[in-house]
């Protein structure tokens, strides 16, 4: 939680958010067991034991992807951030959706710790939710994707096409955790392919 003074409340909230997302996404990747356990190391975040990626590439991927989103978070354009797991055929098997709602009318991050405790509760729930404890095959791949409310106006060449294909049917949704706080609310749910979905 290293933030500078004199930042606009939005920037501050966004940075806070991506920091949290980084931890949450790393936890998901860790819990899914795509990588060997040795690829992670234990860290402390908000007084919780979390895992952080040791491999520089992995760490950088998560970190840089989220950093890129900061300005969009500030504008409130990002609706969802997804961690998509897909198989060799690029068919998504599981999507972890972070539904984010920035409350831009709200000012700075409250210092009463309400946000912090909410986020902490979030991470605790995350690490104990059932779908996450199911380990996956190591052949899976994953990516971070962002869903926008509207197309970003700026240069689109920085964006990479998602590798995963779309599902034909609407997915089944399993909520994991919802957290409401100022200046942002985060909900995490998992999307699984509908039973009718051809895989």
């Amino acid at each position: 939680m290293v933030r500078k003074q004199n930042q606009s409340p939005e920037t501050e909230a966004s940075l806070f958010l991506i920091e949290f997302l980084e931890v949450a996404i790393t936890s998901i990747v860790f819990l899914k067991g795509i990588y060997p356990i040795g690829a992670f190391e234990r860290r402390r975040y908000m007084n919780l034991v979390v895992h952080s990626a040791r491999h520089p590439k992995l760490h950088r991927y998560i970190h840089d992807s989220l950093i890129e989103l900061v300005s969009y978070f500030q504008q409130g354009m990002v609706e969802r951030v997804a961690v998509i797991f897909f198989n060799a055929a690029k068919i998504p098997i599981e999507k972890f959706m972070f539904k984010i709602n920035m409350n831009r009318s709200h000012g700075a991050i409250m210092e009463d710790g309400a946000l912090e405790s909410s986020l902490r509760a979030f991470l605790i729930k995350l690490s104990q939710s059932e779908p996450l404890s199911k380990t996956s095959s190591q052949e899976w791949k994953w990516e971070i994707a962002a869903y926008f409310r509207s197309l970003p106006s700026d240069n689109g060449d920085r964006w990479i096409r998602t590798q995963a294909l779309q599902w034909q049917q609407p997915p089944l949704i399993t909520p994991i955790k919802s957290m409401k706080a100022d200046p942002f609310s985060v909900q995490l749910y998992i999307e699984h392919p509908d039973l009718l979905e051809p895989i």
């Binding site: 210092e111 009463d112 912090e116 909410s118 949704i173 399993t174 909520p175 909900q187 749910y189």
Partner: protein
């Protein structure tokens, strides 16, 4: 057998004396038997077989008390005690009491006779009785000093160590000859013939390491003498030794090189100082003491190697001379603290004022001290050596002048030395005597002169310039005489105008002489002096100069300074140029602080596996840590040196290091330390960096540099106690420690806050809510609880010091916080944030959003509010403006609303009226449906309404459902014929709830429907509700989330 030889010879003699005196005392009998008990218990006597097992302290004590012998061990104990008493009684009669001044011949000797001997064991016992010795009927490692036997079975010869435990095994004629000579003779010539030819019986290091744990466990006084187990203990690091005369670093470095090369030291005709020094360095390879023994059982060492007792010459000693020299410095400093300070008054310029320097050096100190009380040996060739092993593979560490005349020098193997000089007498070290003599030596020097610079334990420099002395030679001879009278050791003196020349003069004065070198004679003296005699010129430099045909100082003077600089670099050339002209500007009295502390073992290092090496490293760390403590220093840089053998062949010198590569790794830590555990960790880390096969290691050294004084470090620590840990991102361990400290305070704060709340930080008092300051830092430093977590009441009560410390941690914000709180507590504060919130609501214009927002916000505050209602003073609310009151009522959890209402009807009347009807059921603090259902005819609806009031802190539907789960089933399941209206009502309630919450709290909706699903298993009515609402939910899900909820 005597009772009081139980510890060692020295304590034996002491206890004997005390024993006699107590006997003459009135209360003698009592205290005597008490003593005895203790002694017997302490001795942990090793006798035979089973007795050994019961020999441990506790068991022997307890068994002793229960008088009928419980086992063999206790029987043996009592028997031994009785035998001792008998022996003492007889001894007091038979010993010739007339020789009070002279010690009896066998004083301190305790023999054990093994097998058949001529003369018989009884006769030997008689001799012992008569001449003050001891006689043990049963072998005990602790009491026996000599084993007497004439013949040994083959098995015992093969396994001598287990039989003798390292004690000398001597022929009975030794006893007879001693009696005839009326003095204790060296037992070496009387060693059993069978053993003299014994070749390999020396254990590997691992054997000793195995022993080590036992050693640690037992009382140091009982630690067995492992005398001929030789682990070298190389004492201090070279640097450490260098300290006294650190100007001569280069010179000594060369010496060290020489020692490594195993070359005999330079065969200078004159016994010059180089050789003296050389000797001293030499022993770095020769030390014979197990490191463990020297550090673990320091007390036992003293006990066993009793200084005054010549009987113990045979006992292999267990300390290192280098270690002695190293520790002597500390001792000296403590004794003469003033001298370690550089004297400020020393006149710097040697030109304007003629200095007179006396360099005084004891003659072959290590030998002469040992033999000072044995004038018979003074003109005999004597050497000091750690071990008089029959194989003769130990190296001589110091030889006296008669021995040097035979060509015996330090560093020679005893075997070779004996070849040069068959009558060579070998004596062991006697560290207590060294200490004593060194102290006497310095006392005398300090008496005569106030400017004394200690070079070593036996060598010092005096500056007598300021003394009003007519003839320095007279003073010198006076000092020398006094030294001899006091210590019975001789000293040589060199007098000149600077340190260098004084030292050179001493060399020519040796032995036992003095040499005055007035400045006018210096030139002539130097002219013919071989360059090698100059300090700082070792073999390498000598060879180099030889290449330039320079052999004497005179020849060296011919070379220009520039030319020297080109060849040798600035420092060495300066040194050469000055020294060959007899120029030396050093001042007397300046002692350098230690720059490094360390320990190095280059002898006997043979590791079997990594476990061995780890054990060894740990003990090395312990030793280094002890030395650091001894110097009162802590270090930051740690260097681990390893010697890796170059060839597979075992070196000539037994267990020596041979030809080795020197490897080293070092590590610097931010905090100076002398902690064993830290050292261990660092050492392990360093060791792992080498990636070396432990079998290849021949030497290990650990050195600590960048020393800081322990006192200052400690002081600094205290100063920065609380702050330092907060400021630094310290390792977790440290963090935990510190957490305890502050968090204790903060915990008080916290617990006050937690009014029945099970959450971490949830429950807040009003004041806290009001103080949601825009204080960003508090959140950052994750160690410190946010400012708002602190209870101001507690903070107020804190002592001012602690408050200011905490205030510092919060970088001053705390006092702001406090002053604010004071304002708040005046009564205004309860609502201070609420206006802000209401403003937020007002900004939103669309009614639908408002209601949603309200719900969202209230649920968001829910976590903080529960305890709040009780804090609210209704009278204050009454005073508030209308819209603020609205905000408050909306904000407060439903369950607390009635409370407010009961106090204030105004609030009750204020109901939101401007919301669209679609979500009306959920509007309000106590949602409308609660009232509506309450007044309903339907039992179920009333039930839900009751449930709602019953749930604690939240007004969530999931909690209501969860509660109804555990509630009486009858209400739910009862009538199947509920009217459609009831179903419709409930469905509407749920649908509204879904519309309200789905967007923002999927989890809550999910929980509700899961619960409903489970409840529907019990109640058809609820099943109906569930089935009706589910499609609505899924539609809403698709709209909001683009998928269907898995229920």
């Amino acid at each position: 057998m005597s009772s009081d030889s139980s510890h060692s010879a020295k304590s034996a003699s002491n206890s004997k004396r005390s024993f006699n005196s107590t006997n003459s005392n009135q209360s003698g009998a009592n205290s005597f038997s008490k003593n005895k008990k203790e002694r017997v218990g302490d001795s942990g006597q090793k006798t035979l077989g089973m007795a050994w097992g019961s020999g441990s302290r506790s068991s022997s004590r307890s068994s002793f008390r229960s008088s009928p012998f419980t086992d063999f061990g206790s029987y043996m104990e009592v028997k031994n005690r009785k035998l001792h008493e008998q022996f003492d009684a007889e001894a007091s009669i038979s010993s010739h009491g007339g020789s009070g001044s002279k010690k009896p011949v066998f004083h301190g000797v305790s023999i054990y006779v093994d097998g058949y001997t001529v003369p018989s064991s009884q006769e030997l016992r008689g001799y012992m009785l008569k001449h003050g010795g001891r006689f043990e009927n049963y072998f005990s490692r602790q009491r026996v000093t000599h084993i007497i036997c004439s013949n040994l079975p083959n098995s015992k010869v093969k396994n001598l160590r287990s039989f003798s435990c390292g004690l000398p095994v001597v022929k009975p004629t030794w006893v007879l000859d001693c009696v005839v000579a009326d003095k204790l003779l060296n037992w070496a010539p009387y060693q059993l013939d069978q053993l003299a030819s014994e070749t390999n019986n020396q254990p590997k290091l691992s054997a000793i390491l195995g022993l080590r744990s036992n050693l640690v466990a037992c009382d140091p006084a009982n630690a067995p003498l492992t005398s001929d187990i030789n682990i070298s203990e190389v004492g201090d690091s070279a640097e450490d030794i260098k300290q006294p005369n650190q100007e001569y670093e280069a010179f000594e470095h060369d010496i060290c090189d020489e020692a490594k090369d195993k070359e005999p030291s330079c065969s200078n005709k004159c016994e010059n100082e180089v050789e003296e020094t050389n000797e001293r360095r030499r022993c770095s390879d020769i030390q014979s003491i197990t490191q463990t023994l020297s550090m673990i059982s320091g007390s036992s060492n003293k006990g066993h190697s009793t200084s005054f007792d010549p009987n113990f010459v045979e006992t292999y000693f267990k300390n290192s001379r280098l270690h002695f020299i190293g520790t002597w410095r500390n001792r000296y400093r403590k004794r003469f603290p003033s001298s370690s300070r550089p004297s400020s008054s020393s006149s710097a310029s040697s030109t304007c004022h003629r200095n007179t320097i006396i360099h005084i050096d004891m003659d072959c100190f290590f030998v002469s001290v040992v033999i000072r009380n044995r004038p018979g040996l003074w003109d005999k060739p004597v050497v000091v050596c750690h071990s008089d092993n029959p194989r003769g593979t130990s190296e001589i560490s110091s030889a006296n002048y008669p021995a040097r005349d035979h060509g015996v020098r330090a560093g020679l193997f005893v075997r070779d030395a004996k070849a040069c000089c068959p009558h060579l007498v070998i004596v062991p070290y006697d560290f207590e005597a060294y200490e004593e003599v060194a102290d006497q030596f310095y006392s005398i020097l300090h008496k005569h002169c106030n400017k004394v610079q200690a070079m070593s334990c036996d060598e010092a420099i005096l500056d007598i310039t300021d003394l009003d002395v007519d003839d320095p030679q007279v003073l010198a001879s006076l000092i020398r005489k006094e030294i001899f009278d006091t210590t019975r050791c001789t000293a040589s003196v060199g007098i000149s105008n600077n340190i260098l020349m004084a030292r050179l003069a001493t060399k020519s004065a040796k032995p036992n002489g003095q040499c005055y070198l007035p400045p006018e004679k210096v030139n002539d003296f130097l002219k013919q002096l071989p360059i090698k005699a100059l300090p700082g010129i070792g073999r390498a430099l000598e060879e180099k100069l030889k290449g330039r045909h320079v052999k004497t100082c005179g020849e060296l003077r011919m070379i220009s300074k520039e030319s020297l600089q080109k060849d040798f670099g600035p420092k060495t050339s300066d040194m050469l140029w000055n020294h060959c002209r007899g120029i030396d500007n050093r001042l007397v009295g300046i002692i350098q602080e230690s720059k490094s502390v360390g320990a190095e073992v280059n002898w006997g290092v043979r590791f079997k596996d990594s476990k061995d090496s780890q054990v060894f490293l740990l003990s090395l760390c312990k030793e280094v840590s002890l030395r650091l403590h001894g110097c009162g220093a802590r270090g930051r840089t740690f260097t681990l040196k390893l010697k890796k053998r170059k060839t597979d062949e075992e070196p000539v010198k037994y267990m020596g290091c041979g030809d080795c590569d020197n490897l080293c790794h070092s590590l610097t830590v931010p905090m100076a330390t002398d902690d064993v555990d830290v050292l261990k960790r660092i050492t392990k880390q360093l060791f792992s960096q080498f990636h070396i096969d432990v079998k290849e290691i021949r030497g290990v050294g650990l050195h600590v540099t960048k020393l800081e004084s322990a006192d200052s470090v400690k002081h600094g620590n205290e100063k920065s106690s609380l702050r330092s840990w907060l400021a630094s991102a310290s390792p977790s361990k440290e963090k935990e420690n510190k957490d305890h400290k502050l968090v204790n305070i903060l915990h008080i704060v916290d617990t006050k806050n937690q009014i029945g709340g099970s959450h971490h930080h949830q429950p807040r008092s009003n004041a806290d809510v009001g103080n949601i300051l825009s204080n960003q830092e508090a959140n950052h430093s994750s160690d410190v609880p946010p400012l708002s977590d602190l209870d101001s009441d507690v903070l107020e009560k804190l002592p001012p010091e602690i408050f200011s410390e905490i205030n510092d941690i919060y970088s001053g914000k705390l006092s702001n916080f406090m002053s604010k709180h004071k304002l708040d507590s005046n009564g205004v504060g309860t609502s201070s944030i609420l206006p802000e919130y209401v403003e937020g609501v007002a900004a939103e214009s669309e009614p639908g959003i408002i209601s949603e927002n309200t719900a969202a916000s209230s649920s968001q505050y829910i976590d903080m509010m529960p305890s709040a209602s009780s804090h609210i003073d209704p009278s204050i609310i009454q005073e508030l403006p209308e819209e603020i009151k609205n905000g408050i009522t909306n904000l407060f959890p439903a369950h607390s609303a009635p409370q407010i209402r009961s106090h204030d009807h105004l609030v009750d009347q204020v109901k939101p009226t401007d919301h669209s009807s679609s979500h009306q059921l959920w509007v309000g603090n106590s949602p409308q449906w609660v009232e509506k259902f309450k007044s309903s005819d339907s039992q179920i609806l009333r039930f839900f309404s009751d449930m709602y009031s019953g749930v604690g802190s939240t007004h969530r539907l999931s909690s209501v459902l969860l509660k109804s789960f555990s509630a009486n089933e009858a209400c739910l399941g009862g009538k199947t014929t509920e009217c459609d209206d009831t179903v419709r009502c409930l469905c509407q309630l749920l649908k509204d709830y879904v519309d309200l919450e789905l967007e923002s709290d999927l989890e809550e909706i999910h929980t509700c429907f899961r619960l409903l699903q489970r409840l529907s298993g019990r109640s058809k009515f609820l099943l109906q509700v569930y089935n009706t609402t589910l499609p609505h939910l899924q539609t809403a899900m698709r709209e909001n989330y683009g998928g269907s909820l898995r229920v």
